[in-house]
């Protein structure tokens, strides 16, 4: 394993700027956000815990032009690829779901494909947990084990570096002078930190009594007619934040610009919680009631995806819990689904 000192890591970020548009997590108050890297500032936090916004935003943009007029080329945005630094394990699991939808399954999406081919992911171990973190309930550890180019584990003086792809390997070779071989005792430091963070997540799970994923099988189907959905949807204000903030949610709206002279088709993140999501032109709506849409959101995550892709479309990141103005808590819903008679 390789080691990079903090000073050399800053140099690495500067080098990456030539080829990439580099984004790093910065801390503002108690929260972390991705910010375009210019110079190394005090607010940059590579480790700690997940950002507010999901890293999927670098791969399918919240709003992007997908077709212009009748031209048959793909209107890729004229920009450098992204290097996203400090991505956490929960976001990486999100890409498993996004990949299934946009890349590996039936038809391929050219915009997502290009972003996946070109963007660089330098992930990082979590060095703390926030109170909504419950990744371990989804069988996911709070440190990346796969699906990254490089992974950083913060230790005293710098980071231990894992290589996860050929591109990561090539980067280390090219910037060889910035990296050193791992020193004695560094792995132990990393292991201690990983255990400490895992325990913090475990404590979260115990405190909220969150059921583990081995108990999710078939629960949505079994509780399909349950009162749970109506009860839980009572406070929902239909804002769609739970969808847009989710690393696994992928739905979008195709929107044609209202300009006959310049035909442009936009793709905009959409939310299945919004009333018209499944409505057809004639007016029929298979999910006319809000609670049906809440149920549908859980069905998609905990019934559809395990059936078609053998994966629960939840990463335990807790973003939907933090984002919900109505305090609807996915952990509580899962608990009811698993435990209620």
């Amino acid at each position: 394993m390789k080691y990079i000192s903090f000073d050399n890591f800053k140099r690495l970020l500067d080098v990456l700027k030539d080829e990439y548009s580099v984004y790093v997590p910065v801390k503002s108050g108690e929260k972390r956000f991705f910010k375009r890297y210019q110079d190394f500032t005090e607010d940059i936090v590579i480790a700690e815990a997940r950002t507010v916004e999901p890293a999927k935003a670098f791969f399918s943009r919240a709003r992007e032009v997908v077709a212009e007029g009748f031209k048959d080329d793909v209107p890729y945005a004229p920009q450098k690829p992204f290097a996203i630094v400090g991505v956490k394990a929960c976001d990486l699991k999100g890409f498993k779901v996004q990949d299934f939808v946009f890349k590996d399954h039936d038809y391929q999406d050219p915009f997502y494909m290009k972003a996946r081919e070109e963007n660089l992911i330098i992930s990082a171990d979590c060095s703390c947990a926030i109170d909504t973190c419950f990744c371990l309930a989804l069988g996911l550890e709070p440190h990346p084990t796969e699906d990254f180019d490089l992974n950083l584990s913060q230790i005293k003086g710098g980071f231990l570096v894992d290589v996860g792809s050929q591109r990561g390997e090539a980067l280390i070779e090219k910037q060889g002078s910035l990296f050193e071989d791992e020193r004695e005792g560094q792995s132990i430091q990393r292991e201690e930190q990983r255990q400490r963070v895992a325990k913090a997540v475990e404590d979260n799970i115990k405190m909220s009594a969150v059921p583990r994923q081995d108990r999710y099988k078939g629960v949505v189907e079994k509780k399909f007619e349950s009162k749970i959905w109506e009860d839980e949807a009572k406070t929902c204000v239909e804002c769609g934040a739970c969808n847009t903030i989710c690393p696994t949610c992928h739905c979008f709206l195709l929107y044609d610009q209202k300009d006959e002279q310049r035909m442009a088709r936009l793709r905009i993140w959409d939310s299945c919680m919004i009333k018209d999501f499944a409505r057809v032109a004639g007016g029929a709506n298979p999910r006319g009631n809000l609670w049906m849409r809440l149920r549908n959101r859980f069905e998609k995550k905990f019934d559809y995806f395990p059936k078609v892709a053998d994966i629960y479309a939840c990463t335990g990141c807790g973003r939907c819990i933090s984002a919900c103005p109505a305090k609807i808590d996915i952990r509580k819903v899962l608990k009811k689904l698993v435990n209620d008679a």
């Binding site: 209107p75 992928h250 610009q257 007016g283 029929a284």
Partner: protein
């Protein structure tokens, strides 16, 4: 570089003719500037520049390559604009998407086609496809219904179909008028005189959800097998390639796995008729 095709881009098409069918339904004939081959039952997304797109199953004969037709009921933003189209106007077409009717699986069988209202549109394309290879099927039945004689689409054509030897056709209206000499009643009331082996036969249903629901119930009672019952599901198809999420039915997307489904595929899912 990237040689991916752009699945979100529409092909330019010119409107050749606009044919009024009923007070609320028009057929638009257009010629795409690039050839679009489709299998009957597949759908396309039609774009009105500056307004938006909406999904339609072509009502024309797939074997005719130079032009395509969609039959459109005026129900919303895009369809209002479609009804304003004139010869020479430019529209966009994207597709075809989904799976059509598996005609090869119908070989050697008796086929009953049941349509309601604007559901005649995809079925017109299906009927021409069946007529084109009519010697491969044992016998064809068509049963169609709509609310009033005024709302009956393709009236001249269905009149012509009445003269065909390979087809047994009967139409009905919910409420007749002075000139109507045919059956009066919902479409399920004219299914009983279809003389065929229900257990081995194929049934295809397309129409408004309520009609599909009751026709399906009736056909199952008559003895049709769930896996021989083909339904065209109207959902909010948008991207056409199973990505945007709007048209999910259980473990399927209507846009890529349908819009034609066997009843046996979807019967277990919730709210299929809504």
């Amino acid at each position: 570089m990237h040689k991916h095709k752009n699945p979100y881009r529409s092909i330019e098409a010119e409107v050749l003719e606009v044919i009024p069918e009923t007070p609320s339904i028009k057929t638009i004939r257009f010629s795409p500037k690039e050839e679009i081959s489709f299998v009957t039952g597949q759908f396309v997304e039609i774009t009105i520049p500056g307004v938006g797109e909406a999904p339609f199953t072509p009502s024309s004969r797939p074997a005719v390559k130079e032009m395509m037709e969609v039959t459109v009921m005026k129900v919303g933003k895009v369809t209002d604009k479609i009804h304003e189209l004139k010869k020479g106007d430019i529209i966009g077409v994207r597709g075809p998407f989904g799976k059509g009717y598996p005609l090869d699986e119908f070989k050697g069988k008796e086929i009953l086609v049941v349509g309601g209202g604007c559901g005649f549109a995809p079925l017109r394309s299906l009927m021409y496809s069946l007529f084109d290879r009519s010697d491969e099927f044992k016998k064809l039945f068509f049963r169609g219904g709509c609310r009033t004689p005024k709302e009956l689409v393709y009236r001249d054509e269905t009149g012509q179909w009445g003269k065909r030897k390979d087809l047994n056709i009967k139409l009905t209206v919910d409420k007749g008028d002075d000139k109507w000499k045919g059956n009066v009643g919902v479409v399920t009331t004219i299914l009983n005189d279809v003389k065929m082996d229900y257990k081995e036969g194929i049934a295809v249903v397309c129409g408004p959800p309520i009609m599909m629901k009751f026709a399906t119930k009736k056909l199952l009672e008559m003895g049709f097998r769930e896996e021989n019952l083909y339904l065209s599901m109207e959902k909010n198809m948008s991207c056409g390639i199973g990505k945007c999420g709007h048209c999910r039915i259980g473990t399927y997307y209507a846009c890529k796995d349908g819009p034609v489904f066997k009843y046996s595929q979807i019967k277990g899912f919730s709210n299929i008729w809504d």
